[in-house]
Amino acid sequence: MTTISKVRYSRRSVLKSGAAAVAASALPAPMVWGQETKDITLRQFGTGVSNLNEVAAKVKEDLGFTLEMTALDSDSVTQRAATQPDSFDIADIEYWICKKVWPTGNLQAMDTSKIANYDKIVGIFRNGKLTPESVIAQGTAPHSVGFTTGVDGTSFVDEESGWMTLIPTIYNADTLGIRPDLIGRPISNWSELLNPEFKGKASILDISSIGIMDMAMVVESMGEYTYPDKGNMTKEEIDMTLGIFTEAKQNGQFRAFWKTFDESVNLMASGEVVIQSMWSPAITAVRSQGIPCVYQPLEEGYRSWGGGIGLSASLSGMELDAAYDYINWYLSGWVGGFLMRQGYYSAVPETSKNFMSEDEWGFWFEGKPAVGDITNPFGQVMEKAGAVRDGGSFYDRMGAVACWNAVMDENQYMVRKWNEFVAA
């Protein structure tokens, strides 16, 4: 029936489609399995945090279609989402960016009834409360921009409307990083950043939208002022906040400012700086050089951030179905485990648990001492046996969030003032 050459030609593809058929029958969700799926390409762009090639490779393996990843900085991400809706299918953005981009109508709302694990998404992204007793933090809290009125909705609603703007994927709680060996005493307040004791040995990040929030945490901790909403300051509050920091800068409080991840690692590892705003993986990078560095939990709480994926308004038909498959796959655990083993949190922790060892789950999520060495997904040892995560368990850390990254109404004014601060 077939010539030899044809058998040789088709053997691989027969095996492949056979495997796909098995997978399709094994998975209960309505999947768009078929030869056509392989031709689908979804273009995703976002910040580097979760735009990982490993994810694209796993998508190809598990779902069959191609995911193209583009990593940009958060300013470019915002611009692209707002101005070039046809240049992407999936936008991987932070919630404060969503607040800016959603009104442009470039993203479409997602039907939560098609999201298999919707009910398991942590409360922060649904009603804003981690636990029923939680108090909602200031700033652009994810749930406040997480829902809209309908598929074409342009405004945000407070309750769970069944239409989500972004599907949460990754989030974390940020605080100050310190060098315990060079400080030699406990640090427990944000105000320590401006303590004259650390004159010439402090640093803050030179990214205005995040830096201003860290500053607000410090100002409140110093007892100078209590903001009605740190995430939405008035012009006077911006002037006052930057005034305090300009004075500190002129007194030589800061050794340097940093803008990139690597810079923050180098400042800390070289001992130029002993206390600074920092991101979780940067702490790990310092520690992996054998240098003690602590992601210090502080009394006033954390500054938190969250990201999610949104769908382009122009997505329809099979591509849209594929995008829903992708979202369901995203929340089904593999990516969550991958991210959690780097110190981030997954939106559906309980599915991620299946993709982590008991020790890893205990260390990263439950705040228990590590039984063996903890490695990251790339095989590097991150923590030795016996180590405990700074800040403790998921509930200890995410339960102590004081504010979320935000975009202010007076953003442009704030940016100009920030430039003056840098030039001062």
Binding site: Q79, A82, K259, L267, S270, V422, A423
Partner: protein, 301 residues
């Protein structure tokens, strides 16, 4: 040109076509360069000037003709502070690169006798340029740091009791990096003009009883002026337009005009960045215009 064509056409009509073809070929010969300059120099500058009058919202820019960008720029005292800071960097860097560059070029041109050695030593000067600008700059950071080589050496020699903080992330480190990066731009043109000084002039000066310093000051320096001027233009243009050296070596703590433009661009404020760029361009052109008043490079070359 047109005059000569007109007169020649009137007197010798038969030569008219010859002149015209010479004229045409002149245009043709100049056109590739003119085209390249028009596309890659004039057009971008025109575009920058046009955009500098546009308006911007938080994430879009829209065509308009308004003076808001300039108004904000020229009314903010931050702008003046930043421009003064930029000029300060340029001036100090210029002094050091000139002193070092002149000395190196003088040594190469007048003390090294054989041409082979001159070329060998000159090539030696360019070796650092085999690596990237950024790498050469960043390699200062671990050297000058609080626990860096410089401080630990000074500490172990007992020269200082505690690490010098001002070595890194200060104006000192910025200027050090500038001098390191740009001295060669001073050495090359000065060396070039020095090599073309007629040696008999120096012998004549010696015969006339001039001391070494007198020869240097009254013979060599005036004859080297065009080289000094070209080097000066290089260094000033490079320092005025820099942003990355200031960012890394000052630890983002100092600002110059380049960083101001970069900040605007990263925040999608292209019109405001364009306006700053136009003001910077005018400043630099003005400075070069003044410099050229002192030396007529075209004549001297």
């Amino acid at each position: 040109m047109t005059d000569s064509i007109a007169t020649s056409a009137a007197t010798v009509p038969s030569q008219e076509s010859k002149h015209r073809s010479a004229n045409t070929s002149g245009w043709l010969l100049a056109s590739p360069l003119a085209l390249v300059l028009a596309v890659f120099l004039v057009a971008p500058i025109v575009m920058i000037i046009a955009v500098s009058f546009w308006g911007a919202t938080e994430w879009t820019i829209y065509p308009a003709f308004q003076f808001d960008n300039y108004e904000f720029l020229l009314s903010s005292d931050v702008t003046y502070r930043v421009f003064v800071n930029t000029l300060k960097y340029a001036a100090i860097t210029w002094v050091f690169t000139l002193l070092i560059g002149f000395t190196v070029a003088y040594f190469l041109a007048f003390h090294v006798r054989s041409l082979t050695w001159q070329i060998a030593l000159f090539l030696l000067c360019t070796i650092p340029f085999w690596t990237s600008n950024i790498i050469r700059m960043i390699s200062w950071i671990p050297f000058l740091g609080r626990n860096g080589l410089a401080n630990s050496a000074l500490l172990s020699w007992g020269v200082i009791d505690e690490p010098l903080e001002w070595l890194l992330f200060s104006d000192f480190s910025v200027i050090l990096a500038f001098v390191h990066l740009y001295t060669l731009f001073m050495v090359v043109p000065i060396f070039n003009t020095m090599m073309r000084i007629d040696k008999s002039l120096i012998e004549a000066a010696a015969d006339a009883g001039a001391s070494g310093w007198q020869t240097l000051w009254h013979v060599i320096v005036p004859l080297t002026k065009p080289g000094i001027m070209i080097g000066t233009i290089f260094v000033i243009a490079l320092v005025m337009g820099d942003f990355i050296t200031v960012r890394f070596m000052s630890g983002s703590q100092s600002a110059n005009v380049g960083r101001m433009i970069q900040n605007d661009i990263s925040l999608l404020q292209y019109p405001s960045a364009a306006a700053t760029a136009v003001v910077l361009l005018c400043t630099v052109l003005l400075m070069i215009g003044i410099l050229l008043r002192f030396v007529d490079i075209r004549k001297e070359l």
